[in-house]
Symmetry: C2
Subunit: 117 residues, 2 copies
């Protein structure tokens, strides 16, 4: 089975304004909470607790996160696996990710955000 | 001269996703850098180094920042004065503002952001 990493910005090209734009959305900030565990996650909306969304909508959100430099997406056959770029984000913007995750944990989204799986 | 504080969310009502959405814009993240000094700033686009924008566009950005809970706007006659809600943001999301300002200083916006005045 062929595998490939989908296109993503290099660490030095990650822009703050794009990171904030990507995370300034209720679904994508919820995904950040899921990805906070550092593990790879399937893009299956059911697995992510996003059954209410169409698969194409979830794919759109995945793409925004990837293009902002927040996540890496690995393609394996027809499947996609997403992981947080924690080391890259910490290198680019020291302390930002931890403070975002801490703020998320404090319930500031106005949505029911599940804890990091 | 009458003065009033324009409507803004209480500290406990400030939502992370709205803060990130508000700052996920090149102009508004630039404004955050200007307001980082904690002082009141006029909304005059020339004073803010935003001559390229129409006054109504600047007003729109001011409103988004205020409604997200990032800034307070004081109206005095026909003038508006904007200030960062640092204490409120620090209380709501400890460490977030400092990490955002630090990230901004590291040049992650992809724009020429002037240093805090």
């Amino acid at each position: 089975m062929s595998e490939e990493l989908l296109p993503q910005p290099d660490t030095g090209e990650i822009q703050l304004v794009k990171v904030l734009h990507a995370l300034g959305d209720p679904v994508r900030i919820q995904l950040l909470g899921i990805y906070a565990d550092g593990e790879e996650h399937s893009c299956d909306p059911r697995v992510l607790g996003l059954e209410r969304l169409h698969k194409s909508t979830v794919s759109h959100h995945m793409r925004v996160l990837r293009e902002a430099g927040i996540t890496s997406t690995r393609a394996a056959g027809r499947n996609r696996y997403v992981r947080l770029r924690r080391a890259d984000l910490d290198a680019r913007f020291p302390g930002l990710l931890d403070s975002l995750l801490g703020s998320l944990a404090s319930g500031g989204t106005g949505e029911d955000v599940p804890p990091a799986a």
